[in-house]
Symmetry: C2
Subunit: 117 residues, 2 copies
Amino acid sequence: MSSDIKESSMNAYNLKVLAESCQVNEILKSISSRWKMQILYSISKEVQQFSLLKKAFPSLSDQVLGKRLTELSDEGLTIKSSIPDTMPPQIIYTVTPKGSRLLEIILELHLWGQQEK
Amino acid sequence: MSSDIKESSMNAYNLKVLAESCQVNEILKSISSRWKMQILYSISKEVQQFSLLKKAFPSLSDQVLGKRLTELSDEGLTIKSSIPDTMPPQIIYTVTPKGSRLLEIILELHLWGQQEK
DNA sequence: CCGCATCCCTTTGGATACTG
DNA sequence: CAGTATCCAAAGGGATGCGG
């Protein structure tokens, strides 16, 4: 294994590139799941409930929405909180600081896409 | 079609969100193709030939590398140029300004991933 | 009202083999 | 050296139907 690396033209620099880029790749793979960033953005804009999100994205199915909301919470991009004194109990999603910072980068990406050249 | 939108709870704001985000979604889908950003980054760091890229990423197959290089050129992120007076003819890839700006955003994404919270 | 389990189908990455 | 063509396996998203 290590001898293979020695034999090839790989050097410490390239290994570093590989290692670092793989992290980015995981991030990219994660955030590029369909609807994910739209949902995160919507939550940041006060569309914070399951039913409201459904209405905002008519072509988004329930189970994909649920999946995305779970993922977003698991990754620390949103917080899921329920208001116990209401009936029926309301569940709302809010964006964490980490999610906020991600949205700023996504915005840059959006602006980058606007430029033609 | 337009009557559907009228009947639903969609408003101008949500439509705008939807439209804008979809562009981002396409961008995300495009740049999150496996190896793509690693390849772009490597090219920016003087790893500019097919064979060198192959060596830099041993687990990357020929036809995926070729595919990514084609995509990168088609999207205006790299320029493919051949040096005609050499034998065998060398083909090198260079990053365009557009590609460069994208890499800056990717770097931010990388830094974002480094932060835990 | 807020989701999850299951099944299916499309997309995408990868292996093998072949060309200018 | 620099790719391309074809085929195949895995993963992701969507539809249907069911539970808390």
